[in-house]
Symmetry: C2
Subunit: 474 residues, 2 copies
Amino acid sequence: TSTSRSQLTKFIGQVVEFAKEDANRLSFALKVGLAMLVVSLLVLVHRPFQAFGTNIIYSILTVGIMFEYTVGATLYRGFNRAIGSLLAGIFAVFVIGITLSCGHLAKPYVIGFSIFLVGAATSFIKQWPSLASYEYGFRVTLFTYCLIVISAYRMDNPVKTAVERLYAIAIGAAVAVGINVLVFPAWAGEQLHDELVDGFYSVAESLEDCVKKYLSGDGLIEQTECCKMIDKFDDDPAYRKFRYILNSSARIDTLAISAKWEPPHGRFKHYYHTWSEYVKVGAVLRHCAYEVMALYGCLRSEIQAPHDLRIAFQKDLLEAAIDAAELLRSLASDISNMKQSLQTSHLKRVHLSIDRLQSSIDLHSIYSVCESDVSKKVEKADADAKLQTQYSYHEAMKKQQRRLYSWPSRVVDELGEDGVESGKLIARMRALESTAALSLATFALLLVEFVARLDHLVDAVDELAATAKFKQVS
Amino acid sequence: TSTSRSQLTKFIGQVVEFAKEDANRLSFALKVGLAMLVVSLLVLVHRPFQAFGTNIIYSILTVGIMFEYTVGATLYRGFNRAIGSLLAGIFAVFVIGITLSCGHLAKPYVIGFSIFLVGAATSFIKQWPSLASYEYGFRVTLFTYCLIVISAYRMDNPVKTAVERLYAIAIGAAVAVGINVLVFPAWAGEQLHDELVDGFYSVAESLEDCVKKYLSGDGLIEQTECCKMIDKFDDDPAYRKFRYILNSSARIDTLAISAKWEPPHGRFKHYYHTWSEYVKVGAVLRHCAYEVMALYGCLRSEIQAPHDLRIAFQKDLLEAAIDAAELLRSLASDISNMKQSLQTSHLKRVHLSIDRLQSSIDLHSIYSVCESDVSKKVEKADADAKLQTQYSYHEAMKKQQRRLYSWPSRVVDELGEDGVESGKLIARMRALESTAALSLATFALLLVEFVARLDHLVDAVDELAATAKFKQVS
């Protein structure tokens, strides 16, 4: 029992941790409890129950279905429910009018056919791409329509029932919206804002992390261990956080849709049109993130630039990455504080450092570093060869080759087994090593391309600042 | 009125087109209509209505809420509803037992407190990451619990009401599932299967498209027009189709969850464990797609390799891309036909063509092509300079520079305005042009890296074939 007790403590610890991580979680739970309590008071207290009767349970259903995490999403659901019910009511009145004019025998057939028609029509229309987000509204239309026409057919006092239910639903909706807005409101807009700012910091961090790992050669060591397992790819926390941004598209869209339903509040005034700007900035940021993804690809790539070549260009690569990350962080803090400062100085510094990188990593310099390197190695290998037997020389070369570039390993193996002459092997090694050197250029150029995209990002943030009327800071 | 009539015809044409595009859309709509009709018959026909009374409308609600597009999603919703109702029932019986033992006055307080507690607890638990997909079940638990305890408190015959509603819900669920499975069933598994196969074809097509555009220089022309607008990025149909794969993560996960709920059917027998393999293959395919994304990045990049350098390596690049696309298509047709054929010959051909590419695009060959090219241009520029005035020579150089690489345009402008001597300008041009030449190497290495990832993809597909017991074809 002592182990089960320790497991219990561990579990409770996890739950407390989970609640502490984001205080909104607990407040959301308490809000739902409160909303349910308020609507159930309508039944528990004698007076209101007498007034409404059993139809008051529709209030409870409404709160249960409508209550969402954010204010925007709740209002959006409420809107869908209201419009859906309205459409259903209009169509129901129309059909009931028809049934009154036709005979008693034909009535059930007309109703049955109309239900089939409404079911098919709403289900067909809701698949239309631009209407897909109103799916819930179409669902409400369908079953509300059915409930109304069937109640009208079978109940003694359909109008009284319908009106009572309508009141009950309205009360439930009012409670849900009221408590969601008044008690610790969780605004979708606020979340979208924070999500975007976090995205900037996250891309900046990933960029620095990636470049540092590339220069320290960490990627090389890891790569040999985990290049086969895609799952292990995901173990890296930096990478996982980063993947969160790559897949953020759907999340940001949903938040923006919810945010559009929210009334102006707090620091987000005159904000109706701004939420779509947030989506745009998010898209441009994701474009930058794809480029960082390609940089990570280099880190994990199976063709790796030799370590001394990396060292030769270390300073320029690192400076460019740090300056770019700095620009990203400065943009993030601008958005976060809702001010607009001129990024020219940052942008200029980034451009200058990229310019230095570009002029240092050109074909000639890589060529010369690589040439001297290879010829040194070849000389050394030649010297070794003279000391050792032909066989062990082959082995050493193969090992060296493997270390430099593990791909395409099959071809390398074949070459080794065929027992090619050492002269040919050296030529081949030179060729392949020079390819490996080019991978440094790839890394550098991807970094340059990343910075080119930062220009677009700065433009997008400027546009956001103009639309949202951020405070200008010089 | 003739314009409004032509608009109407156009609109009807669009709707017909939409229905034809995917026949499942129409059949889904008809199925919903049919299901609603069947449950409403319970009320319209006299006998069943007498047996069940007004609680039968819960059947209609259930069908309206439960009916989803695929069989798996409907069963999944049904499961959530069933378990949610069961939990609610158990807890309600427990709380009603407590209220019976305590006094009449305390009763409403106990009930109110229990409602608050259940509301807060379910809403807190459903935020736990691993339980997030059962959100609907927790919602059902909450409002069912409230309905039961409140009915028990206020109604004359709570047990009879509860049982009747339970029957009504069960009937609704049976109708929804029955019609969804028996009439034109839309299996989530089938959709997942098709989605994955389409993904393979789509990546293959994008790869070829991208390499062809790169070699023909189409990207260069487009790039000048649309490099500033991220929106225009999205106009390209090949690119849009491709982005659909990049963002496919959520869609595939949802389909896989639904597919797990489906019984074995048609060609998908012994398939329970296989759906997670589909998700894995999808993830590896997305990893390949990220690499194609980087290739597109080169195409749109603002540093472009000179055209004659592309021509020099055209054959090898094109061959490698076509062979890789061929391998992807062969994998796709294998999955599509549910057979496993040895991909060794395809894989070998891809490796050989990549090997050729690697040995042709090494540092030396790029260096030599580029050197001869630059020296020719410099000679030509020198000759021009002697004929023209110093000023117009500067202009020509600037233009030439711009054509080669538009980035970083600010720096280039500054250089031009400062009026650097032509000797320095030529040196600078040489350096920048050699950087541009490196961008060809980047393109080639990204292609090599793409093929390296294909190895993982082949492994993942092999694993899928083994789990799903695909037919072996030699």
